[in-house]
Symmetry: C2
Subunit: 377 residues, 2 copies
């Protein structure tokens, strides 16, 4: 937790649960990512946290934006981003939304199927398009399904077809999986991508851009490689597979840009046992759970560090759950979480590295609880 956040909590004692994001950390993350991959343009994945304060800060620093929907595009424009710095990166778009984005000046669109390519060609003629390819997602903490992307052979065919449809075949994108801790995963995807570039070049189509996606991890319970390590590994892979003809590159950090900038403050509502046995593990119920912003604890995928005001003494293993009447609203039961033996009902706890994928995941009104409040300082 940064000093600024600690001071905010001390001075304001905001009602819990709430998220506080230190904008200096976001700025620092931007600079560090930019330093690690100086030749790549940064497209911030707005879905990670679309707060106006974050978007404005990134606009000023020169960031571009990867958006998932028209409201996200509008949020970027409202924060001062020029339309040519916005990419419509969702491969699943309604025709009406493509048309709206086109009308707003957005000129860069993702696709992974002939159906989507045809929609873009019809509703955003002349746009630059990039095709997303499938990757395995091995090494990532947040599951990566086959939902996005197509097989490389299909991507090659579709990019060849794009020019004939009146759009510009611009490049290839992939995503190695969110919270990807294996830097080598980018190499495999870049090798496949370079092969597509070569194939198309032979057929007279020159692709320009490789979209390296996101996946840059935040430090939760385990250590993760630094931005520098990622940058060095990716730069080496680019040279290895593209030689002297380096493409434009873009990256789409979301978690890596804002994850470690936020802290959620929560209150302990109840600590109890299920039986009279003293060795029965205690349950600690917080006033935030899976439906109040911590959706990424699904299957205990993301393991947030939790600190308390009583840290330093004896601890015991606990099960941590949310405040709703939903039996699935358990945060950590299999993972070995330990909390102080003398933790009390009414204490506050701080859930670290919660700047990404929390506020907007929050349910609108589940069990009558309001969505997560957030402060950007």
């Amino acid at each position: 937790m940064t000093e600024k956040i600690a001071r905010f909590f001390a001075e304001n004692r905001p009602a819990t649960p709430c998220l506080v994001v230190d904008l200096d950390v976001v700025a620092d993350n931007y600079d560090r990512l930019h330093g690690a991959l100086p030749d790549a343009r940064i497209f911030y994945a707005v879905k990670a946290n679309p707060a106006h304060e974050i978007l404005s800060l990134l606009v000023e620093r020169g960031s571009c934006f990867d958006t998932a929907s028209v409201p996200e595009i509008e949020a970027c424009l409202a924060a001062g981003a020029p339309a040519d710095r916005i990419s419509f990166g969702n491969t699943i778009k309604k025709a009406s939304d493509i048309a709206r984005a086109h009308a707003l000046g957005v000129g860069l669109f993702a696709f992974d199927s002939v159906e989507e390519l045809e929609k873009i060609a019809e509703h955003a003629p002349g746009a630059r398009v990039f095709c997303r390819i499938l990757t395995s997602g091995e090494g990532a903490d947040w599951p990566l399904s086959r939902k996005f992307g197509c097989e490389p052979e299909m991507a090659r065919d579709l990019l060849l077809r794009a020019a004939g449809l009146g759009v510009v075949p611009y490049g290839v994108s992939f995503h190695v999986g969110s919270q990807q801790r294996d830097v080598g995963q980018w190499d495999l995807a870049l090798s496949t991508t370079a092969a597509i570039f070569r194939d198309l070049e032979e057929k007279g189509v020159t692709l320009r851009m490789v979209n390296l996606g996101g996946g840059f991890p935040t430090r939760y319970l385990k250590d993760v490689p630094t931005s520098q390590e990622y940058g060095a590994a990716i730069a080496a892979s680019l040279r290895r597979h593209f030689g002297n003809r380096l493409p434009e590159t873009i990256i789409e950090p979301g978690r890596g840009m804002v994850g470690n900038a936020g802290v959620i403050r929560s209150e302990v509502v109840l600590i109890s046992r299920k039986s009279n046995r003293e060795d029965d593990r205690r349950w600690v119920y917080l006033d935030i759970g899976k439906f109040g912003g911590l959706a990424e604890t699904m299957d205990e995928a993301i393991k947030y560090p939790i600190v308390t005001e009583r840290d330093g003494g004896a601890t015991e293993p606990v099960i941590i759950a949310g405040p709703t009447c939903d039996s699935a609203d358990v945060l950590y039961e299999k993972t070995d979480y330990r909390l102080p033996v003398d933790l009390k009902i009414g204490d506050t706890v701080s859930i670290l590295a919660t700047g990404a994928y929390t506020t907007t995941y929050s349910a609108v009104n589940f069990n009558g609880f309001a969505p997560l409040r957030a402060y950007y300082i």
Copy 2:
């Protein structure tokens, strides 16, 4: 889908995604549950769908209400429910919320630990309290963890202790698991409950009430027993375990009250394949997903029937996914869903039995998408 809902869609063509709830079906469900268990008081589980229209209708019919939070209590009062028809059924409550409920006139509280019992005694002196016991949850579609309830031996000790703390030991509650299709599960829990009643009677404490919880299922893809079958089985179990000294009983239907009353209308955003192979399963992407109201598709637990305007012809197996950039936003991949071969992008589909646990589960702004709109007709 009822005629009334079909007519609403035809006449209003509302923007998708949206939920339409037929209030006549809710009224009918209430009457049927009341008929099936005429001696039980019905406490509607507000969390299933807290819409004002539903609460008002149920107030008029004489229903009581099971609430999870102060905002839910306030919603019931706003709909005209007297405070003595409201139970604060969440076993995880902040002291300040207990005090607030008490001030609003609520006099019936759930607990499952000594810590919660002490909070209630301090902040709602004189209240009637009931202790929730653990059950296995076998036979239920929606997972039931050990999050709620304590072992029966502990429940007995706590209820014995309650009177000394200045609250009224009123009864025992259990929950056999949401969408419970095995009517026999109530018998096991009632046997345990009757033993607690006898134990306490011997020690001079007379419990009055058995809270049978919810669990009454809605028909999704599979057939479920009728309300009558549940009612008959539960009545027989009560006679078997309590003999002539039948306790007051209450039930807490949520899904069973509103599940089958609602239909979600959604648009097909994209249909595509991941490769050039013709035998590759097609992906159908809807404009609603796991974060837009269909959270209960988590692990494909709840399998909603999906109907289209093109039903009747040839079908093919499909993977069904939501519109967000989240790779976990896949609704059905393992379950064998089939949709028409001639289904087209831009078609609408109807997702049936979606009246419960949809609107409030909806994320507040994930990927920029607005929460689920709903109409109550």
